[in-house]
């Protein structure tokens, strides 16, 4: 049975939609909110309010409204897409990926959810999933530069250099482009050819400074060629374009930690960890900062978890030993020190078998 709607409530919704459609998003919001206080189970109003919040960069509020709307209308693909976008813009990339995946499954021929899903997976470091997702698409649409670029990036970051090179060659056929330079630069970074990588990435920045990730990789090349101050500037530019860029947050966090600017460093590292919560180095850097801030027991707890997950992480054992010593737990410190010595000896034995790399 459908209950008759009260005329006052309907007027509110009507006004909200009119304001929204005329671009007065901020003005529309209170009308939606008031309407929903009377009619809390309106999927349309919830979805519209979510969109208004998203337009106002209130992504958390948008997410809450879209989620309520989806509870009322499970499987509503446009709402699912909007929720994905809100997560994406809020920097909750894993959640965004889950939503885009649902949309992509429902609408496999649509390009936008496919590319957004691939981008999320890239940002989450799930390169082989991008490979699986985009390789068949690239086969069918070899001229789609966006697909080629995302696939090439995933292959190169996943050290699948030969296949990555094929994709880059395809992009290069269209002439010099920021995308091609970025991919070449990243390939050279992976091969430790830092000065050559720097040249490509500098060119990529010149060609298209707005290309996603370009400043993050340029920063890495600058850092690898011994210019941390310029690298920090590049990371900051990367974060101006995308505050949730993983690599820029991580690397800038480490540089700031080296400068003992711990508050700022933690801010960036935590953003990086929001994207990849399990990232060991990010977690280690946070723990090391906690120790330097005098919170030895907090650091100890974090480090104990890290070395349990990664028993060969020598620096984490060093810092854990230090935390134990600061906590006057000499026996535990000595035990960790013995592990450090053992790991160091093993590393040295491996290094002495290898050759020098420049």
């Amino acid at each position: 049975m459908v209950l008759a709607q009260s005329p006052e409530a309907e007027d509110l919704l009507k006004q909200a939609i009119q304001l929204h459609q005329s671009g007065q998003v901020a003005a529309a919001i209170p009308f939606y909110e008031k309407y929903l206080s009377q009619k809390p189970e309106s999927p349309l109003a919830l979805s519209n309010l979510g969109a208004a919040y998203a337009r106002s960069a209130r992504y958390k509020d948008a997410i809450a409204q879209y989620t309520k709307a989806l509870k009322l209308q499970p499987g509503n693909v446009p709402v699912e897409m909007n929720l994905g976008l809100a997560y994406y813009k809020a920097g909750q990339i894993a959640e965004a990926a889950a939503r885009f995946e649902k949309v992509h499954k429902a609408m496999p021929a649509e390009t936008q959810p496919l590319l957004l899903l691939a981008d999320c997976l890239l940002r989450l470091g799930k390169y082989s999933q991008v490979d699986t997702l985009l390789t068949p698409v690239f086969r069918n649409r070899p001229d789609d530069r966006a697909v080629a670029y995302l696939l090439g990036t995933a292959l190169i970051r996943d050290q699948k250099t030969e296949r990555g090179q094929t994709v880059i060659d395809r992009i290069l056929r269209d002439g010099d482009s920021a995308e091609a330079r970025l991919l070449l630069g990243v390939t050279k970074l992976n091969a430790h050819e830092y000065p050559a990588a720097l040249e490509d990435l500098r060119k990529a920045v010149e060609l298209n400074p707005k290309l996603p990730d370009v400043y993050a990789y340029y920063g890495q090349a600058l850092q690898s060629t011994g210019d941390p101050a310029a690298a920090a500037d590049a990371y900051r530019k990367a974060l101006e374009a995308d505050p949730m860029q993983f690599q820029a947050n991580l690397e800038l966090g480490v540089l700031l930690k080296d400068e003992q600017k711990y508050d700022l460093a933690i801010e960036h590292l935590q953003r990086a960890l929001q994207l990849r919560p399990g990232h060991l180095d990010g977690r280690y850097q946070v723990a090391a900062i906690e120790l330097q801030r005098g919170r030895a027991d907090v650091a100890r707890q974090q480090l104990e978890r890290i070395v349990k997950e990664a028993p060969g992480f020598t620096a984490a054992h060093v810092t854990l030993a230090t935390a134990y010593y600061r906590l006057q737990r000499k026996a535990d410190g000595d035990r960790e020190r013995a592990i450090v010595q053992k790991l160091t000896a093993e590393t040295q034995a491996k290094q002495q078998k290898g050759i020098n790399i420049k």
């Binding site: 011994g226 941390p228 620096a315 060093v318 230090t322 000499k330 160091t344 290094q351 020098n356």
Partner: protein, 548 residues
């Protein structure tokens, strides 16, 4: 012109004049006669020892009260056959700002090893400084014959240190009144250990990073008092610690009256050997927080020093590392732990792109507070091809202590600080006896650099030459306190420090503008441990103080 305008002009001119007055000036070889040049033996194969020397020293070998100079050269090795004989050099101070080469007469030319560094110490307590020269191949102990000549007594003394030795330090670890010897050993570099690290992108061979060579244990020799030494490392943490030692300083970091050792290692953790007595050394570097960086990484430690930089009564430590790692200034927490204060003192910020070697805490302007000088240069001659922001030749750095903090004053310290060098060893000493400590720098593949100190005009000072009687003759380990202008300052006479080099053994006590020194107190090292107080000592001159 108004009075205000006149004053403005005068003050402006004064400020401009002050800015233009160099704190240090380079004394060219054409003036000093120091015409010797280091031969680094650089080859296409890029053998690692080529890039690590040379060391240098200030010493008064003829006891005339004027600092002479010793310079270490490379030499024959299994990877290098010099086209012409290479020699170390001893220059006698002519007391007029010039020097005369007396190497051949003195018999200290070396030539039997690929020389690295020098440690000066009076091992036989006869009042005449002896020379210990390190290098690849062997080490050499030159005993001073008290007549301007030396004798190579290495074999007789039982000092065998095969392999590749770098910095060394004379110190009395068991307080028996005789100087013992610690010698840093770098990496295993025999023909069987050596490796070619390949050809780089420029099609050239390059210097292997030390990470790729096996670490070695350093040497501790006990002075038997009869001209011989016995190696005492066995069973101690010194023998167990496999390192790649480049720098060492002996200092009493916990004020227990026993000299400890701090060793800077390249690409592996540093070692801090706490002297627990009875010949036992305990490596406490990790709990002391001086082994690794704050990020838990080993750094490429090269030069070191120890000093009570901030007047806490405890010895702080310093390590110069390679570029990107930043140098470390470890502040003593008075409980056998340290905290890196390099950032708080601007040291980390100034050294991010530099690689440091010789260094020394010294009060260059005699205002009473310790300052710091750093000699830098990247070991890889092709570094600029890989890391454009990093240079092979690098500038010297000078820090001045103000209000308990170090401040980088290099940019205003004089034109010499605008120059770049492949600097390695660094020794501090007063070659012209004006009470202002000068600086000598060993340059890889080049002539040495002698910097004359022109700073601290009007500041007063007293120079002390301590002469042990019961303790070691050089009084290594002595503690000096002095009161002037209502301030009591203190200093420990440490052993070693810097990189491959030896400093003027005298201590210069600066008092700024204070009119006089009320008293100087010397706590002589054990075995006597006597405390001696001198009231109202003279100023502006060096005095010899003998242990009572």
């Amino acid at each position: 012109m108004t009075r205000r305008g006149f004053l403005g002009c005068t003050l402006g001119a004064s400020a401009a004049f002050g800015a233009a007055s160099p704190l240090f000036v380079e004394r060219p070889a054409s003036e000093t006669g120091l015409v010797w040049t280091h031969d680094n033996a650089m080859s296409d194969a890029h053998y690692l020892p080529e890039t690590l020397g040379p060391g240098c020293a200030f010493l008064d070998y003829d006891n005339d009260g004027w600092m002479d100079i010793y310079l270490v050269n490379s030499g024959p090795a299994d990877f290098f056959k010099p086209a012409k004989p290479l020699r170390n050099a001893l220059y006698r101070n002519n007391r007029d700002g010039t020097f005369t080469d007396v190497t051949d007469k003195a018999g200290v030319a070396g030539g039997t090893n690929f020389g690295m560094g020098v440690a000066v110490g009076d091992f036989d307590n006869d009042g005449w400084p002896d020379l210990f020269v390190t290098g690849y191949g062997n080490c050499i102990l030159y005993k001073n014959n008290r007549d301007g000549t030396f004798t190579d007594v290495t074999r007789k003394a039982g000092l065998e240190c095969p392999g590749w030795t770098t910095s060394a330090v004379w110190f009395d670890y068991d307080n028996d009144g005789k100087l013992d010897l610690f010698v840093c050993s770098f990496v295993a570099y025999g023909p069987g250990d050596r490796r070619a690290c390949g050809v780089n992108k420029l099609g050239k061979g390059f210097y292997c990073i030390p990470r790729f060579f096996k670490p070695t244990a350093s040497f501790l020799f006990h002075n038997n008092g009869d001209g011989t030494f016995t190696q005492k490392s066995a069973g101690t943490d010194i023998a167990k610690s496999m390192g790649k030692g480049l720098g060492v300083v002996a200092a009493d970091i916990n004020n227990d009256g026993l000299m400890d050792l701090f060793v800077a290692n390249d690409t592996v953790q540093n070692f801090l050997y706490a002297n627990r007595g009875n010949g036992r050394f305990e490596d406490i570097s990790l709990p002391a927080e001086v082994a690794f960086s704050e990020g838990g990484q080993p750094r490429s430690g090269m030069g070191v020093d120890a000093a009570d930089v901030f007047g806490s009564g405890f010895q702080d430590l310093f390590v110069a590392n390679v570029d990107q790692e930043m140098f470390s200034l470890y502040r003593n927490q008075k409980n056998e732990t340290f905290r890196d204060a390099a950032h708080a003192n601007g040291v980390a910020q100034s050294t991010r792109l530099l690689s440091g070697w010789g260094l020394k805490f010294f009060d260059y302007d005699n205002d009473g507070a310790l300052d710091l000088i750093l000699a830098n240069g990247h070991p890889d001659d092709m570094i600029e091809s890989y890391s454009p922001a990093v240079k092979h030749k690098e500038p010297l750095l000078l820090f001045h202590q103000e209000d308990g903090k170090l401040r980088d004053v290099s940019k205003t310290a004089g034109p010499v600080f605008d120059n770049s060098y492949a600097a390695r060893g660094l020794a501090v000493g007063d070659f012209n006896n004006d009470g202002r400590l000068d600086v000598l720098i060993g340059v890889n593949g080049g002539p040495p650099v002698l910097l004359e100190n022109r700073s601290g005009e009007g500041n007063r000072w007293l120079g002390l030459k301590l002469q042990g009687v019961n303790c070691n003759r050089d009084a290594i380990g002595a503690k000096i306190r002095w009161a002037a202008g209502g301030v009591v300052r203190s200093r420990m006479k440490n052993g070693g420090g810097s990189y491959l080099s030896s400093h003027d053994p005298r201590e210069v006590l600066g008092i700024g503008k204070a009119e006089k020194i009320d008293w100087v107190e010397i706590v002589w090292p054990k075995p006597s441990g006597k405390v001696q107080r001198i009231q109202n000592p003279p100023l502006g001159r060096y005095i010899t103080v003998q242990e009572p």
